[in-house]
């Protein structure tokens, strides 16, 4: 059924249709509307049987999910940014134990400095934790991916992270097609655990593994993610069959056929990129887009194939490998047949900075004519940077960076006396 609702509400409804049995909730912007929505559905009796637990921290949220999942219940939670880091130990633990927990990450920057706006630092900081990581391009895909996530997770016995841009998607009202309970039930059967805490058949979960077998266990985790590379497209096809639309999968290509320049990105920025690319195509520029939907496992083969005809690749990412450059671009380089010189990293949208068509036009054009630097920070204010560096050169006690910048911008109240 078509609806015009907030992204968070769409996700809450979709998750509810998946019949979660235990939901743990700890608030953090910008995911709060999701768990609030689910809480209301549980309180109102529309989602039952379901235990909704208000936990005392994100670490507790993931831990409660671990216990619930290990005991055979379908478990769900949501977080972002600092919350994801706070539960990091448990995040690794869930993957290592092979528990099919599904978690929404409403992508948000990580402090310091504290910043509540969108970028991909949070999810990517956990890229090697063993979870499957899927990125939604719009709210339709966001809700669809949650349904696919539960199926995938339980099939593989591996937890799945569904990432959606905080505020940009979570707080945006847009049209979505909400599935019916029948459709979801046809796609997602009840949870059949591979391992379960049951007095009738006791097992010990989480025992220590020594040097003799640890490598094998880790190899199996890696192999399972390779398996996911087959399953994800298969389950996306199955999704299309039941729900009638293409959603999810490993990557989405757009106007790649004769593209000489390919822009690669994750998440909602793909929409703005496509609008820009359409405008450039009208001017005759041979440019296309590759959206990465599945970041983990990294779809090497799919990316390689999509970039096969590209002369140059521009990776636009809302993330930064501090001290290195791009995270996503690094991944792309390993999948690109051409020279690494032809992969350009554009760091954009950090901490919620708007990515505009105007800026994209400039940067895509520069890439197309080969005048782009290997690593660029889109719309960087060099004068601001220079002022900070100058202050640090002149004074040892240069003060907190954020405050210094705010002073320069004339926002903070002047010193008293």
């Amino acid at each position: 059924m078509l609806k015009q609702i907030e992204g968070s509400a769409a996700v809450a409804e979709a998750v509810a249709l998946c019949r979660p049995e235990v939901i743990c909730a700890y608030p953090i912007s910008p995911q709060t509307h999701i768990v609030e929505g689910l809480g209301r559905l549980v309180d109102g009796g529309q989602l039952k049987p379901c235990e909704f637990i208000n936990v005392e921290s994100e670490f507790a949220a993931m831990s409660v999910a671990i216990g619930a999942s290990a005991a055979g219940a379908r478990a769900y939670t949501a977080t972002a940014s600092q919350g994801l880091l706070f539960m990091a130990e448990a995040v690794f633990n869930a993957a290592g134990l092979g528990l099919p927990i599904v978690m929404t990450v409403a992508n948000r920057a990580i402090g310091a400095p504290i910043n509540i706006w969108n970028d991909h630092t949070d999810a990517l900081s956990q890229r090697d934790c063993g979870w499957i990581q899927l990125f939604a391009e719009d709210n339709q895909e966001a809700l669809d991916l949650h349904i696919q996530a539960f199926r995938l997770a339980e099939e593989l016995s591996l937890p799945v992270m569904v990432c959606m841009d905080g505020f940009i998607l979570t707080h945006a009202y847009e049209r979505v097609d909400m599935p019916t309970q029948e459709q979801v039930d046809a796609y997602l059967p009840p949870y059949e655990p591979r391992q379960v805490l049951d007095p009738a058949d006791p097992v010990s979960i989480g025992a220590m593994v020594g040097p003799e077998a640890f490598t094998e266990v880790r190899f199996l985790a890696h192999a399972k993610q390779q398996q996911a590379l087959q399953l994800i497209p298969a389950w996306a096809s199955e999704f299309k069959r039941i729900f009638g639309r293409a959603s999810g999968g490993l990557t989405h290509g757009y106007r790649l056929d004769d593209a000489e320049t390919v822009v690669v990105a994750l998440g909602s920025v793909l929409g703005t990129i496509k609008d820009t690319v359409d405008e450039m195509r009208e001017q005759g520029v041979k440019i296309g887009v590759l959206g990465i939907t599945c970041f983990r496992p990294w779809p090497t083969a799919a990316v390689r194939e999509a970039l096969a005809g590209a002369k140059r690749v521009l990776v636009l990412e809302k993330s930064l490998a501090v001290g290195l450059g791009g995270i996503v671009s690094n991944h792309v380089s390993t999948s690109y047949h051409g020279a690494s010189d032809d992969v350009y990293t554009v760091i954009a949208g950090l901490g919620g900075r708007a990515i505009t068509r105007g800026s994209l036009h400039r940067i895509f054009a520069a890439a197309a004519e080969g005048s782009l630097e290997p690593v660029t920070f889109l719309d960087l204010d060099y004068s601001l940077v220079d002022r900070v560096l100058a202050r640090e050169r002149e004074h040892r006690r240069s003060g907190p960076i954020a405050e210094g910048i705010l002073r320069d911008l004339g926002v903070v109240a002047a010193k008293i006396g």
Binding site: S63, G67, M208
Partner: protein
Amino acid sequence: MSYQPIRFYQTGTFTVGNRLLPTEERSVQANVRRTNSLNSGHRACQGCGEALGARYAIDAAMEATDRQLVAANATGCLEVFSTPYPETSWQIPWIHSLFGNAAAVATGIAAAMRVKGREHVRVVAQGGDGGTTDIGFGCLSGMFERNDDVLYICYDNEAYMNTGVQRSSATPPAARTNTTFPVGDSAGNRFGQGKNLPVIAMAHEIPYVATATVSELRDLEAKVRRAMEIRGARYIHILVPCPLGWGHGSAETIRMARLAHETGLFPVFEAEHGEVKSVSKIRRQLPVEEYLRPQQRFAHLFKPPGRPDIVARLQQLADRNIRRYGLLDGTEGTR
């Protein structure tokens, strides 16, 4: 002429293995049908108080729940020695997640049982003092506050033993650990620090809080049984001496626990909804020195010239407990 050794058993006492007692008064361990939930073959040190306590507690819990029990275990001695790769000594469904989240994992298991309509399956969380009073404190308090249906058992050996004897917030004042070494004027762990977890548990007003030691094992079993009659958040804090970490003989474990009780340093009591309901009286009060001297971790208090001032302060702590909880016959506590 050869001697045939003759052993005399005292009848009518509550000796733990005593099978001459009426059935209903026997300990769970004395029953051939005990579940051996923590089975032999684990790798605990000789004389480990925690292994002893866990065996009694979990078998009692199994008996009380008709063998419908799941356990969540924090990282620590118990977890490590009970699951040495590639073996496990647990005969019950058991999960180890992390160091600080046993209480939260247990909450999750209890929620799963509830949602599946299997509330007859009960949940126990277990951890050492480090995993309970320090790193696990947040999750523990959360579980208490929500009144989740979990029995949390803390095996308190008063330091991080598994990592080699470091101080925790349960380490008593003046104890030597590898991070509270008595050097120069320092007399080991400082006074005025530390957390009293049983009292903190009581402050959460949860349905049941109890302390116990491995010197009164039937009392421990009874408390576990009592706890399993109750729904909601419950907490049992068991003093489990550690021969290695405390520096006493491996055959002295139970005696050390008894001395902790009988000096007043470890009050043994039960509380419900924040109020003390019963205490284990001290039959014959002993001076703290009798408890401290046999332990190497307090040896610095007695090496000439000794630290009688510290011993006196410890005596004050013991006396305060005795007053507070009414541990002597004929006295009432103030809690």
